[in-house]
Point group: C2
Chain length 338, copies 2
DNA sequence: CTGTTAGCGCTTTCAA
DNA sequence: TTGAAAGCGCTAACAG
């Protein structure tokens, strides 16, 4: 007789344990009404066969996939990459699998396509690491028959969609006030791309802090978050001898600015003070060590998943925004104006 | 009459189009034997209802989940984070979803647990971004009823399991020969953790290149890939005035070394030349711009998925190793010995 | 406490 | 070219 090679199913366990497959199901799902002796027999059979429940069958029967989707971008940015792990860990602890769908470009069609793919897998909720306005538009266009949480999306655009983000404006203000407090007449800004709400929030926070101190706000330069863009901005800044303080919207651009200032013969922090944003692991080891605004990416990831799971389990739709407080880490790239 | 709120199923589409659900299935799966007029009607009905196939039902019926699993680590390293995207994109293009399972620590139980979770979801194959010996042990212990591909795992330990990796020894030799060619008497090495095969391969490549040139191989220092570890190693190196060339097993440690040498008053590249490994995006903008060995992470990701898909579709088990060639990128952190 | 029955939404096989 | 029937492995509802 030939036995087909297939993974053991519940019926096989049931057969071996001498019970019905239903009883096996009860054991698997920790139902209370199973005699402990029966349970033990079933567990033994499960072990003997190396039984693994079939997720597809369970999903089909319960209409619950135990999976959450994660929309990511094809980015080399530190924050998003890091948060993937934090989210996966939080999901695992909450009993969910994580399925990812990445969009190459942060435009509306690609984000919608990513969401479509995730829904096809019947994910129970979606976290989108999509801090781009286009992603946001896509979210609002979705039927939203599934809970969605945005990670790092600016408040103004979050019409009724729950989100978790750092308080970018507060972080930018922290950086700007720090520089003003060191005696700098004003603070220049290297901003992120205008289609990123986080970039706009940081720029707004910088501007507000300057206004609060009655200082003129110079025109901001804009980069794409990369060190290369920071380098270009830094060269432009270096041409102006009145520039003594620069706040960059992220650490990678700050690295480029440091490089450009160095090439132009302007010393940091002696001639120019520089502040970044993120606190990447390398920040303390740059030349000079970078003063920066720290984001707790792990916390952001955990919070977003908690918010999602809450929506999934209560069935409620939230529209709240959770803001995490950033902190300023002062290192060697800033000093009192001479 | 009350209609229950549930996503449209195939039967609903069939009903609307006036055909059997079977015909709808044929349309969905692009079967040839459907009259084009019928097909059009079905497609119209699908659009009208915004029909989405139920992945769980399909998986249950076909025993194919169209999903590949990805084992990752809770790391802030650039390479692994970046490869996640490359793999996801390649998977999408090949018609697969990607489910991730991350292990907090690279030890055997956690890797096995990650693999167990993925198998529970009936993934058709697994890519493991687990360049750690423990992960490797775990892979070999698995029943392997599902194809597995390792990414970045050293050859010696890859008994019969297919893998894709950069040629670490060749990359290390490239770096070492470059330094020797500049006239340095020998090259010191800041190695990665000994339980990472990649670290061991790089160390072996460095040692081999020295031996090939009949140079003494100094004792290697070991770090954990972080800039902090590089800093510590750099301080130790700076105490020895005979050190003129350092090859670091990754760029992050090189950043720490640059910092430490600077603090110790040793100038790079004037007094000491430094080479990294990876070519992170910031490398050209460091002070000085970092000479380093470039890995094409995107290519590694694509290759690993191609190898996996090949195994899935042919049903064959491979044990081949694909090695990608690294290249040396010479920048400002290395120069001829004085 | 345990077993029986009836689907979940889809694909596969066979028949028409 | 289309339809009918059976079953993938599991859970929910009910019966005992």
């Amino acid at each position: 007789m030939h036995t087909v090679r297939r993974p053991p199913a519940m019926r096989d366990v049931a057969h071996l344990a001498g019970v019905s497959h239903q009883t096996v199901s009860r054991v698997v799902n920790d139902h209370p009404n199973v005699r402990s002796e029966t349970r033990a027999r079933v567990l033994a059979a499960m072990r003997a066969l190396d039984y693994q429940p079939n997720a597809a069958a369970r999903t089909l029967a319960t209409n619950r996939s135990q999976t959450v989707g994660l929309v990511t971008f094809d980015t080399t940015l530190f924050g998003p990459s890091f948060m993937v792990h934090a989210i996966e860990r939080a999901a695992r602890e909450a009993g969910y699998f994580v399925s990812i769908a990445s969009a190459r470009e942060p435009d509306v069609p690609q984000v919608r396509e990513a969401i479509r793919r995730l829904r096809e897998q019947a994910v129970e909720g979606i976290v989108t690491l999509a801090p781009v306005a286009a992603a946001w538009t896509a979210l609002r266009q979705e039927p939203l028959d599934v809970p969605i949480v945005g990670l790092g999306i600016a408040s103004g655009e979050a019409d009724g969609v729950p989100m978790v983000a750092i308080d970018n404006a507060a972080g930018a203000a922290l950086a700007t006030r720090h520089l003003l407090g060191l005696g700098h007449a004003t603070v220049h800004h290297v901003a992120g791309p205008a289609n990123w709400p986080e970039a706009r929030e940081r720029q707004a926070g910088w501007r507000a802090a300057l206004e609060e101190a009655n200082r003129p706000a110079p025109a901001a330069l804009t980069g794409d978050w990369s060190a290369a863009a920071g380098y270009d901005a830094g060269l432009a800044l270096a041409e102006r001898t009145d520039v003594t303080a620069v706040f960059c919207a992220n650490d990678q651009m700050a690295i480029g600015v440091l490089r450009a200032l160095h090439e132009a013969g302007r010393r940091v922090p002696r001639d120019v003070s520089v502040v970044g944003f993120d606190d990447v692991p390398e920040a303390p080891y740059l030349l000079p060590p970078l003063t920066t605004v720290r984001q707790d990416f792990a916390e952001l990831g955990r919070h977003s998943l908690a918010l999602l799971v809450d929506q999934i389990s209560t069935g409620a739709r939230r529209s709240e925004q959770q803001r995490c407080a950033p902190s300023l880490i002062v290192r060697g790239s800033t000093t009192a104006v001479r």
